[in-house]
């Protein structure tokens, strides 16, 4: 359950609203009007939001999911308007966290205007939500979006008629092209300033038994709270045992929802009056409870039925006849193709391969350039500067060879692939292909007790596990979402691909003739990634059968119509939302790691560095699972970012070999050619087994600290974070152990 967002007295006054919104975690400037954007998922709500606010929005989808909404603002006729983008919901029954957030904001956040964004192609279903919003508040503007899509599908809507039916302004828009946004902004201003008077449609035809109960209860509520504009809605919610509304009625908060200037219905009129008042309130709750037991158990159904009946009636009246459907139904044809039994999976594999190929090929050059700049130009310059200033060698080494080099390496390796992968992925998402992938793969995930949308979070994990964990927000069922979060680490992330490729080419490629070496090592890497997917399904299955079987579950997957993606917008948001934030977190964790590596390698005890001591100490365990002490130590050091595993391994190996001149200078990172690296590793006692097991361990080990932190933020549970951290590690140790023993048995 979400924590109620806004509580307290005098909700109506400006000062309070500012204060209470601070509680919501929103940074407030001054504003004249507060506008909430509500609507079904996939109605282009965010597009309307962006069109109205320009690029000045702060896409605040990162903090906890209770406040999973974006906010922005615009100026209109000298008025500053603050816009809150609420989570997309199908209703306001407060059945899920998203619905609760949206409902609470519309009801208790007291927006000056609530804009209901409506998908013109799905009018009936959207009206279901609109009618519920109109029950709560008078100040509503309908944004009839996606008018172009409706036209394409031969759907015409008489906006004037709809306005007449609903009693609030209805503005047809095509938000992607900015059409109608000026009218929308104007209507918002009109309703907010009171220039436009609304007469919202209120549900008239509830089922008879419910109607009687609502009538009886509404009377009592109206008596206690004379200013309340929506007593029938409150009565309805009380009959539905809505805990939040119950609490508001008991505390008197509900009384202040009526009008801006209303004095609190009760409060400081003496304790006896207050007592009488609170008795009256609890009598309302008691009455609701008594009435509820007289209703038939499926009255929720008949309520939903009656809302839909109204929605259908209104939609029918506003439908314009005689429009021609586009001859070629692009959506249907494409859907048949991408979900077909024979072509569905090949197309999926092709698309994913192309995305990976573009990412790896395209990231190569910028990665080199950034690393050349940061490591070969900036680093020596900084070193020079340090020696001219006369920095002591330890401070210089600690800061420049430790902290700086680790950070620079992480940026060079992480930034380009992420900056390519995430936008490509977001484009596929916006186009509408990814929901089809989830649709195709759902059966597999269903068997493992998971949600088809986990296929998407898995793919996102190939870019970065932390981003993959965040993307699980698209899964609205708590149990399946938890499974997706815990198992996301089985997606081989960007930071681990380089390790796989290097080790495969050194140890696997070397086992076969040179002309097929490239192909074989590439296949080995893909094999490891596929093994990761299998492990993900296995882990999902295990979790859903054991520790997670007691968590809540629901399934629904809407396949939105295909929409041409907007490339620039996507680039902007995916770079801001995903790439930069993930990179920032990685950098935060890489800096201390660089410091630790430098210290471990440069502080000597008994003439031997701490790193060597640790590696020697870990060696027996490492050998038992087919690795060695250096690799284990590297994985401990590399908890902040998988990218630094290879550099750390190389540095520690040189250190242990005592090869002078290689590990000394740079301290932390350096690059070598693959063959030279191979020679060195073999010199240090590495075998093909070590290589294979390193690849396996790179797939199956604990998530990096960025991901662990993200898992904790998303689950808000130390226990699940622990499970997500230790489960893959345990699997990795067991798998490596078994492979090592069996390998040695066969080899002997």
């Amino acid at each position: 359950m979400a924590v109620p967002a806004v509580t307290g007295h005098c909700v109506g006054c400006e000062a309070h609203r500012e204060a209470s919104l601070v509680k919501l975690g929103i940074r407030l400037d001054r504003w004249d009007y507060l506008v909430a954007l509500a609507g079904n998922p996939n109605t282009g709500k965010s597009t309307v939001f962006n069109a109205a606010t320009g690029l000045r929005q702060h896409t605040g989808n990162w903090p906890g999911k209770t406040v999973a909404r974006a906010e922005g603002g615009y100026d209109h006729l000298g008025k500053r308007v603050k816009v809150i983008d609420l989570p997309g919901t199908y209703s306001l029954q407060a059945g899920s966290t998203d619905e609760e957030v949206a409902r609470d904001f519309i009801l208790f956040g007291q927006p000056d205007v609530t804009v209901a964004v409506v998908d013109a192609t799905r009018l009936e279903r959207n009206l279901n939500l609109v009618l519920q919003i109109l029950e709560i508040t008078d100040r509503v503007v309908i944004c009839l979006n996606l008018m172009d899509e409706a036209r394409r599908h031969g759907i015409g809507i008489d906006a004037a008629r709809l306005e007449q039916e609903l009693g609030v302004p209805v503005i047809p828009t095509v938000a992607r092209r900015g059409q109608g946004i000026a009218d929308l902004v104007d209507a918002i201003d009109g309703v907010a300033s009171g220039r436009i008077q609304t007469k919202p449609y209120r549900m008239r035809r509830h089922p008879p038994e419910v109607d009687g109960a609502i009538g009886a209860l509404a009377g009592a509520i109206q008596e206690a709270y004379p200013n309340l504009p929506n007593s029938r809605w409150v009565a309805n919610r009380l009959l539905n045992a809505d805990a939040r509304v119950q609490a508001a009625v008991l505390s008197g908060d509900v009384g202040e929802l009526g009008s801006r200037q209303s004095d609190a219905a009760v409060s400081d009129t003496g304790s006896r009056a207050a007592l009488r008042e609170s008795n009256r309130r609890s009598r309302i709750i008691d009455k609701a409870q008594a009435l509820r037991w007289k209703l038939s158990p499926d009255f929720h159904d008949s309520l939903a039925e009656s809302i839909y009946a109204e929605a259908q009636r209104i939609a029918d009246r506003c439908a314009m006849q005689g429009l021609e459907r586009a001859k070629f139904d692009f959506d249907r044809t494409l859907d048949r193709l991408v979900t077909s039994r024979w072509l569905g999976f090949p197309i999926m594999l092709l698309v994913l391969t192309v995305v990976f190929w573009i990412t790896i090929a395209g990231a190569n050059l910028p990665s080199r350039m950034i690393s050349a700049m940061l490591l070969e130009t900036v680093h020596p310059a900084l070193k020079n500067f340090a020696s001219t200033v006369g920095l002591p060698w330890w401070l210089d080494g600690f800061l420049l060879d430790g902290v700086y080099l680790a950070t620079a390496w992480v940026i060079a390796v992480m930034l380009p692939p992420m900056a390519i992968f995430f936008p490509l992925f977001t484009l596929l998402e916006d186009f509408g292909y990814l929901p089809r992938v989830a649709f195709n793969l759902d059966k597999l995930f269903q068997k493992a007790g998971a949600h088809g949308k986990q296929a998407l979070t898995m793919c996102m994990g190939f870019g970065c596990n932390a981003a993959g964990v965040v993307s699980t927000r698209v899964i609205d069922s708590p149990r399946e979402r938890l499974i997706a979060i815990i198992t996301n680490n089985f997606s081989l992330c960007n930071g681990r691909w380089p390790t796989q490729i290097l080790i495969a080419s050194i140890f696997i490629g070397a086992l076969v003739p040179a002309h097929v070496a490239g192909l074989v090592s590439a296949t080995a890497v893909v094999g490891v990634a596929v093994l990761g997917m299998a492990m993900m399904l296995l882990a999902s299955w295990l979790l859903s059968r054991t520790v997670l079987q007691g968590e809540a579950t629901t399934f629904s997957l809407e396949l939105p119509p295909y929409r041409p993606p907007r490339v620039l917008q996507t680039l902007y948001t995916s770079v801001i939302d995903r790439t930069l934030i993930v990179l920032w977190r990685a950098v935060l964790f890489a800096m201390p790691a660089g410091a630790v590596i430098w210290l471990a390698a440069n502080i000597n005890i008994g003439g031997v560095s701490i790193a060597e001591h640790l590696a020697t100490w870990l060696n027996p365990v490492g050998l038992l699972i087919g690795l060695n002490g250096v690799v284990l130590l590297a994985y401990i050091v590399a908890i902040p970012a998988n990218e630094i595993v290879i550099p750390t391994v190389l540095m520690l190996t040189t250190l242990s070999l005592g090869t002078q001149g290689l590990g000394q200078g740079p301290g932390v990172m350096f690059e070598e050619t693959a063959s030279a690296t191979g020679t060195m590793l073999r010199l240090a006692g590495w075998t093909a087994l070590t290589g294979v097991n390193l690849m396996l361990f790179s797939l199956l080990h604990n998530p990096c600290s960025t991901t662990i932190y993200t898992i904790y933020k998303e689950t808000k549970s130390a226990n699940w974070t622990l499970v997500a951290t230790l489960l893959p590690l345990l699997m990795g140790i067991v798998v490596c152990f078994l492979v090592a023993q069996i390998w040695r048995l066969i080899a002997a």
């Binding site: 199908y90 007790g449 809407e558």
Partner: protein, 267 residues
């Protein structure tokens, strides 16, 4: 270097030991836990439940029947009844054991908790129907009275458990509404791509968040649904519901009763 064969043998032994301890349902750890959970409270509540069940079935509980139902020795049952009597929960006479008013109230509260848990497990978890009873049996002893009310409130005060038995409350209870669709109606899952049908109702077995989501999506009696698209692995199926394309799994579509109506379908 450890001998690999030896290492594998040790590994097998370790895994075997772990399995003996932690095998779901049968493992030593579970059994130990079960013994530890057998507290005084659990025994008293089980004894009251037994007395109530006997009373409900127009029989009278006795020391003998109680020893049988609780799987304890006769001597233990005698001591248990003495303690129940001391707390004025049962009254024993020559005819057998009678619940006092307080004892009956207590027993009803346990029954309420049990059925609420069954409802919860059925609606909100992945626990198999065959395990609902046993799991509820374990959980029913753990809640205080206020927690029971909170549990009921969190589910919107359900009236029936998933087996159709009423959940006891202080209020009067309606008889369970009969399902409109039993025999002649088809399931939504029987539609092939391209076919349409009208919703008759959602089965009672589908409750809680799942039912609410279907209602929100517009699956209400009278809605025309067209099966449109079959996934590459044949399940789920995408249905056109109120002009939106919604994928439903077969197990969900099984719970929606429809009627093919040529006059309304096939639009």
């Amino acid at each position: 270097m450890v001998d690999p064969a030896l290492a594998l043998i040790w590994f097998a032994i370790a895994v075997g030991t772990l399995l003996i301890f932690f095998w779901p349902g049968q493992g030593l750890a579970i059994r130990l836990l079960r013994v530890l959970r057998m507290t005084e409270r659990v025994r008293i509540e089980d004894a009251l439940k037994h007395a109530y069940n006997e009373e409900y079935a127009n029989r009278t509980a006795s020391i003998h029947s109680m020893a049988g139902a609780l799987e304890v020795s006769r001597a233990f049952a005698v001591r248990l009844v003495t303690r129940l009597e001391a707390r004025e929960l049962v009254h024993s006479s020559d005819e057998g054991l009678q619940l006092t008013a307080a004892g009956r109230d207590y027993a009803l509260r346990i029954l309420r908790t049990h059925r609420l848990w069954e409802r919860y497990l059925a609606d909100r978890t992945n626990v198999k129907p065959t395990d609902w009873h046993d799991e509820a049996e374990r959980r029913e002893h753990r809640l205080a009275a206020t927690e029971v009310d909170a549990l009921a409130a969190s589910m919107g005060h359900p009236v029936y458990d998933p087996h159709g038995d009423p959940i006891p409350t202080d209020f009067t209870v309606h008889p369970l509404p009969t399902e409109r669709a039993v025999g002649p109606y088809e399931k939504l899952s029987s539609l092939s791509p391209g076919e349409s049908a009208v919703v008759v109702q959602i089965a009672h077995a589908c409750q809680g968040p799942q039912r609410r989501r279907l209602l929100d999506l517009g699956v209400v009696p009278g809605t025309v649904i067209t099966a449109e698209l079959q996934g590459a692995l044949s399940d789920p199926m995408a249905y056109r519901i109120r002009s939106a394309l919604i994928a439903l799994r077969q197990q969900q579509a099984d719970l929606i009763y429809v009627e093919r109506d040529p006059s309304k379908g096939g639009n």
